[in-house]
């Protein structure tokens, strides 16, 4: 049903029942808003989106008010603009005003609003709330004094992750966003996924910065600084330099990293191939020996923490495989020193991840052996962009380069790990070989692609049928997890990714990406897969060499001690 409404004296058409904001959007009128989120019910909290409606006493929020036939709306009348401007000024009157020192400088919604509404004077002044920074988490830093209480982080944590780590605490102007009993974030049920950072309009939520450590290592002559970057990083980094989403720039990244001064540049996708080998064996063994099934993936550190705190009884079902980042880290501190003749203590291993939980993962106790950590520093895609800027590298001028040998060689199976379902697809390609020495009949599994919350597929190899499920976005995990807990789950393998769409939409990626951007990134990954020659993990020659020279066989003694880990129940306030 179409209705007619009058906007700024012009008649436009709108769908019955849609909100004023959405009707205006489709005719190109932008209404500012702070609390509105796509696909969420409006909360009407920020009041930035108010418009004037003839016959109504006060101004009306356009995010929640449905259109009525012949409603007369003024979107930018003096009254409306005065109101919006005053609201921004009110927020600024309780804001630290230290934009120049802020992580989100030039990329801040509050700053943008102030600019758009022409705020050029401190007209409203008063006491400001002062809170201490919460540095406790290895992944996320909270600065409540910059928080404008839009509530987007709370909603993402509740409705997209089902983690419920944070909520509004206290009332009125003493409200803050806090954890249960106002504990520091590290002692809460936060899983470090960083999705809250992705929706935060200001600098109240940012990742824990590791650039300084990396710089120190780069300037330390004794250190050999090696860096690896995760599969999804190469298809998102370009966005921070103003390129539209969906462009792969791995060659440029290699070149940039080399210019910055990293000694060796490796690809985490190589280790993803290694994960495929180990995990396929694990799956086959459990299936054969009637072990704990389904085998649940363990590559997403946010999911792993979630399992440890909320589903400890499912921990035996988790794959013991470390994540690709940690596997490569372990190789770089064990075998690589022997090959290259370096003292493992002098290797500083950096990982670029699309994810803040990876910072947490690298710090896990299990990831350090004999005082050597698999990974010494994790930086996010955003931090990598900063590092590139810091070293004055012009991405438009440099030429693409190759990554370093040996761990720069990968199959495209490892590359698609960046998308939810990619890991499962890679395992399905390799499983026939592992189980029966046969090459797969099928390589592409379109049913496992896309950003749906739950995807499934099955594979018959020999007489055995394997059934696979992929969950992306933790909100979609509960029904399946409950079924597993109750013992009536029909799957053999379950991949769980905390963020919707997988790592391409991780909490360490460039902020402000919409669903279309996520789709474009995903398309880019599968595009790479289409165009490459080596598409199967077990066809990666370096993997085979590694098994031959060092690891022995998948799930062998050496593999277990280097590439596998264990989990334990975690007590936090749920």
């Amino acid at each position: 049903m179409v209705v007619k409404i009058e906007v700024n004296n012009k008649v436009i058409k709108a769908r019955r029942g849609e909100t004023i904001m959405s009707a205006l959007e489709s005719v190109g009128i932008k209404i500012p808003s702070i609390c509105a989120m796509k696909d969420f019910t409006p909360t009407g909290a920020c009041r930035m989106c108010v418009v004037e409606i003839e016959g109504r006493q006060g101004l009306v929020p356009s995010c929640s008010q449905p259109v009525n036939e012949w409603m007369k709306i003024k979107t930018h009348s003096p009254r409306v603009i005065k109101a919006r401007k005053t609201i921004v000024e009110l927020l600024l009157s309780n804001h630290p005003d230290d934009c120049l020192y802020c992580e989100r400088n030039v990329n801040c919604e509050l700053q943008t609003l102030a600019e758009e509404l022409n705020v050029r004077e401190r007209r409203i002044m008063g006491k400001k709330n002062k809170y201490k920074l919460d540095h406790s988490s290895p992944s996320i830093v909270r600065d409540p004094s910059k928080c404008i209480l839009c509530g987007r982080c709370v909603r993402v944590c509740d409705e997209r992750l089902s983690v419920f780590a944070i909520d509004f605490v206290n009332r009125g102007n003493r409200t803050i966003i806090g954890t249960a009993c106002n504990k520091d974030l590290n002692f809460s049920s936060c899983i470090n996924c960083g999705q809250c950072i992705m929706v935060c309009p200001t600098g109240a939520l940012v990742e824990k910065d590791s650039i300084a450590e990396v710089e120190d290592a780069l300037h330390n002559k004794e250190k050999t600084v090696v860096i690896q970057y995760a599969p999804s990083v190469s298809v998102t980094l370009a966005e921070t330099f103003g390129v539209k989403p969906g462009r792969d720039i791995s060659g440029l990244i290699n070149a940039a990293l080399r210019k910055i001064g990293f000694d060796k540049i490796f690809d985490t996708s190589f280790a993803a191939d290694l994960v495929v080998m180990e995990m396929s064996h694990e799956l086959m063994t459990r299936k054969k020996q009637k072990g704990k099934l389904p085998l649940i993936s363990s590559c997403c550190p946010a999911w792993v923490k979630y399992a440890e705190q909320s589903y400890p009884e499912l921990l035996p079902a988790l794959s013991t495989c470390k994540s690709p980042q940690q596997m490569l880290g372990a190789i770089l501190k064990t075998w690589y020193p022997q090959v290259s003749g370096t003292d493992p203590g002098n290797i500083f291993s950096v990982a670029v991840a699309p994810c803040t939980a990876k910072k947490f993962e690298a710090q896990r106790e299990e990831m350090t052996k004999k005082g050597l950590s698999d990974i010494d520093a994790v930086i996010t895609t955003r931090e990598l962009a900063k590092l590139i800027k810091l070293y004055g590298i012009d991405m438009n001028q440099i030429e693409a380069e190759e990554a370093d040998e040996p761990y720069g060689t990968r199959s495209s199976s490892g590359k698609i790990f960046g998308s939810a379902g990619g890991m499962t697809e890679a395992v399905m390609r390799t499983l026939p070989y592992i189980a029966g020495g046969r090459e797969p009949d099928r390589i592409k599994y379109p049913e496992l692609r896309g950003i749906k919350g739950k995807k499934e597929a099955s594979l018959k190899t020999g007489k055995t049928t394997y059934r696979f499920a992929v969950i992306s976005g933790l909100e979609n995990a509960a029904p399946l997890l409950e079924a597993i807990r109750a013992g009536n789950c029909e799957y053999d393998f379950v991949e769980i990714m905390a963020c919707a769409g997988g790592c391409i939409n991780g909490g360490g990626q460039p902020v402000g990406a919409e669903e279309n951007a996520v789709r474009a990134r995903m398309k880019a990954l599968y595009g790479i897969d289409e165009s490459e020659i080596i598409r199967l993990a077990h066809k990666n020659p370096v993997i085979n060499e590694l098994y031959r020279d060092f690891l022995g066989e998948p799930l062998g003694e050496k593999s277990i001690s280097v590439l596998h880990t264990n989990y334990s129940e975690r007590k936090v306030m749920l």
Partner: protein, 650 residues
């Protein structure tokens, strides 16, 4: 305590002869029996003691203990009845005595010490007239000489008591007394004779408007919710109140809980629901106890529960104790609170009548609105419609407080002149002081001054003067009260009670409070920055108030600027005095006080100078000292320590 009546009147008698007998005239012997239940006639003396909250705070508990002791010590056969509140707060503790055959007399300020004297007099038929407030008119008993009739006292003369009919008269813990006063018959009549739609029609026809402040037609609101197709609907009664200075709802529940309960039940029937919630402030301990008793009794009488008297109507009433947030008076916030969430309002639409509690159609009515319902069905909509003036029907309960002679709760027809309420009912300002203003409607209301005090008390007339009726609080301010300080107080309240969801209310109310804080204090060394900030703040005040009113999410925020706007309209002079002259004529804003030393009285004893925290007092020993005005912070310590009364306020 249980009712001791002297006629064998039990539950079955009341049910079959009164409740279920719906003939317009009850049989004579039943009527006679009811007179005893209502204590219009008594066989033995009865001592009534008001034990509502305000009575208890004034010491009625001790009076009650003393009365029990008095009777048992002297072995007197008499009954003690605890009643609610008469509404006349400044006379508490209030004790009434009724001797067989004589009119009931009320005595004021009856503390435990005074009680024996009063009772001594009464039991010897020597009425202690000096302590009497008045006697009640009662055709079936002999009146006392030289004692005024209660109804003729100025405090009562303008009142029209429908809702307060039973206040202080019956024992609120007794369903029997409520039934004997006509209660629950309208309810039975309603469910037996009217459809849901007819009930809504009757209420709409009566012209009853929501008393929570919105003034929306109650019957209309019910109709909307009833028209929505749903498997469940809910009725919510808002008894959270807790305005500063407003406690009428609480007194209503303490004094006549069954009236509210009956209203709730009829409303539930009207919208076709079997579940009603009463959301009452947890602090209201006495009221909660009264309601719990009432619900129990109603259940015993079969008035609550499954298939009430074979009508097919099922009804359950659930009490929810509000854990203390003013914003929960807003309907969507209250719904959130009952659902077990933070009491934060949400945008409307969807309106609760369509999508409310647990997502079902929900009607939220206030205590006073619902308490009006039984009488509308007892006397008919036309009767109700005839009370009040052209723009508003019925009566309204008000709380008179502040600088006024007669404090208390009153009920007057809507449309009564505010002036009369203050100067007739309230008897004006005490101690011959000058009336300055009356603050109406609490934190969301505004001020009236001598110039416009002639306005009628109803929704439209008040709002044309920029005043919002609110919960019915009326606080009188005299020459010693400061308008600026009063507004500051309301702003402080609002910014503390703001839920913090929407930006204009959360940040704006606090900034407004700060403007008031800035103009009511004198920084020790005010630099240019302070001065600039002060003036900037004042210049922003009107703009800020306008935006908060225009954009806030719920009524709390939208009405928060009302005291500011109203005071700016009528008291520009007071603002200028504080901002430019830096003084508060009323002497309330302590930090603006200036002290000076009377040279004739000062002996130069030097006591004050070392005590001054600002080192503003200088002088030589044995010679008069003086105060350096620029340094003085107005703390008043010197004033307190001076033994010669040489220091005074300018």
């Amino acid at each position: 305590m249980s009712v001791k009546t002297h006629v064998p009147i039990d539950k079955d008698f009341l049910i079959s002869n009164v409740l279920l007998n719906q003939s317009s005239e009850l049989p004579a012997e039943v009527q006679k029996a009811m007179k005893f239940v209502r204590r219009e006639k008594v066989k033995y003396p009865v001592v009534f003691i008001g034990t509502g909250s305000c009575g208890l705070i004034s010491g009625a508990g001790d009076t009650l203990d003393e009365a029990k002791k008095y009777l048992s010590d002297r072995n007197i056969r008499a009954e003690i009845v605890e009643t609610g509140c008469t509404g006349f707060c400044s006379m508490e503790p209030l004790v009434e005595v009724q001797l067989p055959g004589r009119a009931r007399v009320a005595f004021k300020h009856v503390t435990a010490e005074k009680l024996p004297f009063i009772l001594d007099g009464m039991f010897n038929s020597m009425l202690p007239g000096d302590h009497a407030l008045g006697q009640y008119k009662n055709p079936s008993s002999e009146k006392w000489k030289d004692i005024p009739f209660i109804e003729e006292l100025p405090f009562f003369s303008l009142q029209h008591r429908n809702l307060m009919k039973n206040w202080g008269r019956i024992n609120p813990a007794s369903i029997e007394e409520y039934i004997a006063s006509g209660g629950y018959r309208p309810y039975i009549k309603t469910i037996r004779n009217y459809t849901h739609e007819e009930v809504c029609d009757i209420v709409e026809k009566s012209g009853l408007q929501g008393r929570g402040g919105g003034g929306f037609l109650t019957g209309k609101k019910w109709k909307v919710a009833h028209a929505v197709i749903a498997d469940q609907r809910y009725l919510l009664c808002n008894a959270d109140e807790s305005d500063p200075g407003g406690f009428a709802n609480r007194a209503m529940i303490e004094s006549d809980p069954h009236r509210l309960l009956e209203g709730v039940i009829i409303a539930a029937y009207a919208i076709g629901t079997s579940k009603a919630y009463i959301y009452i402030r947890n602090d209201y301990k006495t009221a909660i106890r009264r309601l719990e008793e009432a619900i129990d009794q109603a259940r015993q009488y079969g008035l609550l529960g499954h298939n009430v008297y074979d009508s097919g109507f099922n009804i359950d009433v659930i009490l929810r104790k509000g854990p203390g947030a003013f914003v929960c008076g807003e309907e969507t916030a209250m719904i959130s609170s009952i659902e077990g969430k933070r009491g934060m309002p949400r945008p409307k639409p969807p309106y609760p009548a369509v999508y409310g509690l647990f997502g079902k159609p929900t009607v939220v009515n206030n205590v006073e609105t619902l308490s009006n319902i039984p009488a509308i069905f007892e006397n008919g909509p036309d009767w109700f419609n005839a009370i009040g003036n052209a723009s508003a029907r019925g009566t309204k309960i008000l709380v008179l407080s502040g600088k006024i002679v007669n404090h208390g709760i009153i009920e007057v027809p809507l449309g009564t002149k505010v002036k009369d309420l203050i100067f007739v009912t309230g008897q004006g300002v005490p101690e011959n002081k000058r009336f300055k203003a009356v603050q109406i409607g609490g934190p969301s209301g505004g001020f009236l001054t001598l110039e416009n005090i002639d306005v009628s008390y109803d929704f439209d007339s008040l709002s044309s003067e920029g005043v919002y009726m609110g919960s019915g609080g009326m606080v009188v301010l005299d020459q010693d009260s400061c308008i600026i300080d009063t507004v500051k107080y309301f702003m402080d309240f609002i910014q503390r009670e703001s839920c913090g969801k929407c930006i204009p209310c959360r940040e704006g109310t606090r900034r407004m409070l700060e403007v008031y804080e800035n103009i009511t204090k004198r920084p020790v060394d005010e630099n240019r920055h302070n001065t600039l900030e002060r003036f900037k703040g004042v210049m922003q005040l009107e703009n800020l108030a306008g935006v908060i009113k225009d954009t806030s999410l719920c009524g709390l925020g939208q009405k928060a600027p009302n005291p500011v706007l109203s005071s700016l309209r009528y008291f520009r002079g007071d603002y200028e005095e504080h901002i430019f002259d830096r003084k508060c004529d009323a002497g309330v804003c302590k930090e603006l006080r200036l002290f000076y030393i009377d040279v004739d009285k000062c002996t130069g004893c030097t006591v004050c100078a070392p005590k001054c925290p600002a080192s503003a007092i200088i002088g030589t020993k044995r010679h008069p000292f003086f105060i350096v005005e620029e340094k003085c912070t107005g703390c008043g310590i010197c004033y307190e320590v001076c033994k010669f009364n040489a220091i005074s306020v300018k």
